[in-house]
């Protein structure tokens, strides 16, 4: 086009469209005369000042393409030393009107704006975790295994010492692993959450035996502990952390790809369900294996549901929803505690009816009911709250 304009006849027809030219540039072409001094005529000839704004546009192309309104271009031009007097050379009253022309002349189509948004894979999707978190997640399992081994190999007073020490070490390790993994809470959980979780774990270890004994009029001496449940749950900490990470990463990716909130919610819910099912499967497998290994029989349903409940509670806490987990965990504790209390209270004269409901369902069904109901409630809650985009917005919060 410019060739035909300068007179070299390579195309017979006049250019069909004015292209990047407007009336102002036509004027400039028609009268390139007096605004530049005669002293720098050589410069003018060399640069070809027909459309000075075009050259400026080319020089500040990145700024213009990035700008969201003319004022941004004006600010950028000023930062590059373009003043009102410089704008006069481009036949504009001030920098603002020059910026407006530049803003109007930058090609602005859908392709450009979408290309400005970096592809989501390039961005750091989720907050980074401390190095080696995936290995740290294995620690609780190892400690649990050691404690259970110690328990099985000792007897009498030594067994008691192992129990106390094991409980302490497991608590400390668990805390450490939680803080250094994807399950860390952005803010301190509501008070009581930890105590409830500890109680539920304790019940999983010794609650069934105690309740069984109480219903039969015992317990007479130390009752058998469900070490398989403890071992399985401890080993399942690692899959829990990995699943939480999986959920966070996939949710972030989906977030970056979705155009609307509804679209994101529709994608996030199945993701959450899939992650929970994956974890439940892994946990069940580990529980069954642990039962086989320790020679303990019986379906690990209560422990599996407890694991799911704890995962959901911790997941919600880590995303900042702290009240529902505390409430549900507290309720589950209350149900289990009440069951034991009722079993003992039924021995009082005239209170025999208290044990009837517990007797009816059986000792093994109490944690199944308590944890199952709790897990169901939290699952519904999580499906609602974790499908919100705003839940995944943060990620810069300090761990507590």
């Amino acid at each position: 086009m410019s060739k035909s304009r300068t007179g070299v006849d390579d195309t017979p027809a006049a250019p069909a469209s004015p292209g990047g030219w407007d009336t102002r540039s036509e004027e400039a072409l028609a009268a390139p005369g007096p605004r530049t001094g005669s002293a720098d005529g050589a410069t003018r000839k060399r640069r070809g000042a027909a459309d000075p704004v075009k050259a400026l546009l080319h020089r500040h192309r990145e700024l213009c393409e990035r700008a969201v309104d003319p004022l941004e271009i004006a600010a950028g031009l000023e930062a590059h030393g373009v003043t009102d007097r410089a704008a006069a050379r481009y036949r504009h009253r001030d920098v603002f009107s020059l910026a407006e022309e530049m803003y109007a002349r930058v090609p602005r189509d859908g392709a450009r704006t979408s290309s400005v948004v970096a592809p989501p894979e390039d961005r750091p999707v989720v907050e980074s975790l401390p190095a080696g978190w995936a290995l740290v997640a294995l620690l609780p399992g190892i400690v649990c295994a050691a404690a259970v081994a110690g328990y099985e190999l000792t007897a009498g007073r030594g067994r008691l010492t192992v129990l106390v020490a094991g409980a302490l070490v497991i608590a400390v390790t668990l805390r450490f692993a939680l803080r250094h993994g994807p399950l860390r809470a952005r803010r301190r959980p509501v008070s009581g959450t930890r105590a409830w979780s500890g109680f539920l774990l304790l019940y999983a270890l010794c609650g069934d035996g105690l309740l069984d004994g109480a219903l039969r009029g015992g317990p007479d001496g130390p009752w058998p502990l469900d070490t398989a449940a403890l071992l399985g749950l401890g080993l399942a900490f690692a899959p829990a952390a990995w699943c939480a990470r999986l959920f966070a990463v996939r949710a972030r990716r989906r977030l970056a790809q979705s155009r609307g909130l509804a679209e994101f919610a529709a994608g996030a819910r199945p993701l959450l369900l899939a992650v929970v099912v994956l974890y439940a499967a892994a946990l069940t497998g580990l529980l069954v294996l642990a039962g086989r290994f320790l020679g303990q029989q019986g379906p690990p349903l209560g422990a599996a549901l407890l694991g799911v409940l704890l995962l959901l509670a911790r997941l919600l806490t880590s995303y900042g929803f702290r009240r529902a987990p505390a409430l549900v965990l507290g309720c589950a504790c209350a149900v289990e505690g009440l069951a034991v209390a009722a079993a003992f209270a039924a021995r009082l004269p005239g209170c025999g009816f208290l044990a009837v409901p517990v007797d009816a369902v059986g000792a093994g069904a109490v944690p199944v009911l308590a944890c199952g109901a709790g897990a169901a409630v939290l699952l519904i809650r999580a499906a609602r709250t974790l499908a919100r985009a705003s839940a995944h917005a943060g990620g810069t919060g300090e761990p507590r």
Binding site: G81, S191, S258, A393, G397
Partner: protein, 676 residues
């Protein structure tokens, strides 16, 4: 008078932005009572503490803008980033959605829709609605971070007639906008808006030290209590927002929405401000572009301590500070925007004409790696262009270009740097308010500077100006000055006189003093007068004080404007008349004193709890006369510059070059100046 100083990342903090200016202002106006309301930008800033505060600062209240201020412990609200005291109930949530949706819609509204004024009104109403909600419910942070807010944003973005960029907003954009809006609106959730002592309701005037978020508390004080707002901007906040790359990682839609928010906020601040004081013409132009009325703008130049340059300036070129007649001096921070390369090329031209001349580059210690590299590059270029030279065969040679630092053996003080040269050169390509140029003017040195930023406005005909990136023109101007000591002396003296008139701390403080008096006299806060039992006292203020009009008055010459709503229109009308020109400065002084007396009387009456009897206060004579204080005169920069230039010309016999700020000065500047 009780003045609330509103700062953002500023005054009381050691690392604050405009702390020097604020400190001088507060120390200069010790007769007033200051309360500082400071917003901090980062944790480091808070840790580094405050500068020493003078006794007239009665109270400092700070609030962070940088992180979720969540209290440790249980009772905080549920949800991510919840920082508020409690979650909203259904009614509050509906109220929030209504106002926030309105705010978002005003942000997303394209320019072509309903009309700018309508959109501005919607934005303002939504902002005040949110502020009232925050005041009633004790905070907004939880709601602003909630899904409700994001959903409202999405709805506004998808609405017909919204900005194109908003239409393309994806979920990450919405989240980014919501988070940044929460940060920007954090001043709404503060507990500063109360009537009691220590709240913003108890002051007579809010002075925002910058626009943007700092002015937000002032806006609300105006909305809730009718406290007048004064906005001072040395750099326009909106421009800083664009240049600062806010929301850097975010996509174009998020940046567009944020830019719209800040633009509308700036417009609302300018609309509600009683007066706006830009620091230079550049800021003034931006403010006008963002919707500030011309009638409200008063340029108040930043003040600089002239004391340390007094000795050099008074001695002139010949006194004890003997300047080497062939020496050019450049002072500043060494960075690419200063175009030292161009300066070196210009100096090469100068050397062709004046082989004895020298160039001393006095640079502040450079920060960062890039600056160091640039300095090394400049040194290498200087060594290439100018070989070392010596007096004779047996002397040790030296380079005619020297790079020095303040505090070195040759230049122990800043003033010595300027004193060492006979001509001070400024070669910047990009420049804001050229501080080194003003310092050179204080020192009474002739200057050659490039036409960038506020240079022309500052120099105002008392030095030579050449186009940027033109070494030959720079060299010609330097040679012209080097060869003409008499002209150097004239220009230097004129420059010093101009600087002492316009850029001293005293003029800055005096300007703000009279602006304070003018504002308080023109639109004082109307407070309910209470009796002993705390019930409102009827008829404490007579109805007349709400009217603009003629007041019977003993001393004041002009019309009194006592009404709150004496808009700029009324003011302009009054000013258009010739009365100020006739009454002269003595009447202005009387007017200002009267206004001060009225303020004092009101303050005393309030302090004693005595209801003022009718007429409650001396009619404020801050009409046309009062408002035309010396500050007012200095405000219209071009006009004043002509006056000063003429005065100086008469004094020193220079043929005055009038009005450098007014007309476009192109490539011909040097030539025109050369004729002078």
């Amino acid at each position: 008078m009780r003045i609330a100083l509103l700062t953002e990342s500023g005054y009381p903090y050691v690392t604050g932005d405009a702390r020097l200016w604020c400190d001088r202002l507060v120390r200069g106006l010790e007769q007033h009572e200051f309360k500082v309301f400071a917003l901090s930008r980062s944790a480091e800033q808070e840790q580094q503490g405050w500068i020493e505060l003078p006794p007239q600062v009665h109270r400092v209240r700070t609030a962070p803008l940088w992180s979720a201020a969540d209290e440790p412990g249980g009772a905080a609200a549920d949800g991510p980033g919840a920082g508020g005291r409690r979650a909203y109930g259904r009614r509050q949530r509906r109220r929030f959605v209504e106002h926030f949706g309105e705010l978002a819609a005003a942000m997303c509204a394209g320019t072509a829709s309903d009309g700018a004024a309508d959109v501005a009104d919607r934005f303002a109403n939504a902002l005040y609605g949110l502020a009232e909600l925050a005041r009633d419910e004790g905070g907004l942070a939880t709601a602003l971070r909630s899904e409700t807010a994001v959903r409202a944003l999405e709805r506004a973005c998808r609405a017909p007639g919204a900005l194109r960029a908003a239409h393309e907003a994806r979920v990450p954009d919405l989240l980014a906008v919501a988070a940044l809006l929460e940060q920007a609106l954090r001043p709404l959730s503060l507990d500063w808006y109360e009537d009691e002592e220590g709240g913003l309701g108890s002051v007579d005037l809010c002075h925002a030290a910058s626009g943007g978020c700092a002015a937000l508390p002032g806006l609300l004080a105006k909305h809730f209590f009718g406290v007048p707002l004064l906005v001072t901007e040395y750099g326009v906040q909106l421009r800083a927002h664009y240049l600062g790359g806010a929301g850097e990682g975010a996509g174009a839609p998020a940046r567009a929405l944020l830019a719209a928010f800040h633009g509308r906020l700036a417009a609302e601040v300018y609309r509600q401000a009683t007066l706006i004081t830009p620091g230079n013409t550049h800021a003034r132009r931006w403010q006008e572009k963002c919707g500030a009325e011309r009638g409200k703008l008063r340029t108040v130049y930043p003040g600089m301590a002239a004391g340390r340059f007094a000795e050099v300036g008074e001695a002139g070129e010949s006194g004890e500070y003997l300047a080497d007649p062939g020496t050019l001096v450049w002072v500043g921070r060494i960075e690419p925007a200063k175009d030292l390369v161009g300066l070196l090329h210009a100096f090469a031209e100068v050397r062709k004409e004046e082989p004895k001349s020298r160039l001393r580059i006095v640079g502040a210690p450079a920060l960062g790696e890039a600056a160091g590299a640039y300095l090394a590059h400049c040194r290498a270029l200087a060594a290439q262009l100018f070989p070392d030279e010596a007096e004779g065969v047996h002397a040790v040679g030296d380079n005619p270009v020297s790079f020095e630092e303040i505090g070195g053996p040759d230049v122990p003080e800043l003033a010595d740097a300027y004193a060492a040269g006979s001509v001070v050169v400024l070669s910047s390509v990009v420049e804001g308010f050229p501080i080194s140029l003003v310092e050179a003017m204080f020192c009474g040195r002739a200057t050659v500077s490039t036409d960038t930023g506020a240079v022309v406005e500052v120099i105002g005909g008392t030095g030579l100006v050449v186009p940027p990136r033109n070494p030959r023109a720079l060299a010609d101007a330097c040679v012209a000055l080097l060869r003409d000591p008499a002209r150097r002396e004239r220009l230097g003296a004129a420059a010093r006189a101009r600087a002492l008139e316009l850029f001293t701390v005293e003029q800055n403080v005096a300007a703000f003093h009279s602006i304070y008096l003018e504002i308080v006299a023109r639109c004082p806060v109307r407070r309910e007068v209470l009796d002993e039992d705390g019930d409102p006292l009827p008829f404490a203020h007579p109805a007349e004080i709400h009217l603009a009009g003629q007041w019977p008055s003993g001393t004041a010459q002009g019309t009194a404007q006592g009404a709150d709503d004496a808009g700029p229109g009324a003011l302009k009308g009054a000013r258009g008349g010739p009365s100020w020109a006739e009454s002269g400065r003595s009447a202005e002084a009387v007017g200002a004193r009267e206004a001060a007396a009225a303020v004092v009387a009101e303050a005393v009456a309030r302090a004693e709890g005595v209801p003022e009897s009718a007429p409650p206060k001396a009619p404020a004579p801050a009409g046309p006369d009062g408002s035309r204080t010396p500050t007012g005169a200095e405000a219209d920069a071009p006009e004043v510059e002509i006056e000063v230039a003429v005065d100086v010309a008469e004094l020193f016999g220079v043929a005055a070059q009038a009005s450098p700020g007014g007309e476009p000065v192109g490539a011909g500047v040097a030539g025109r100046e050369g004729e002078a």
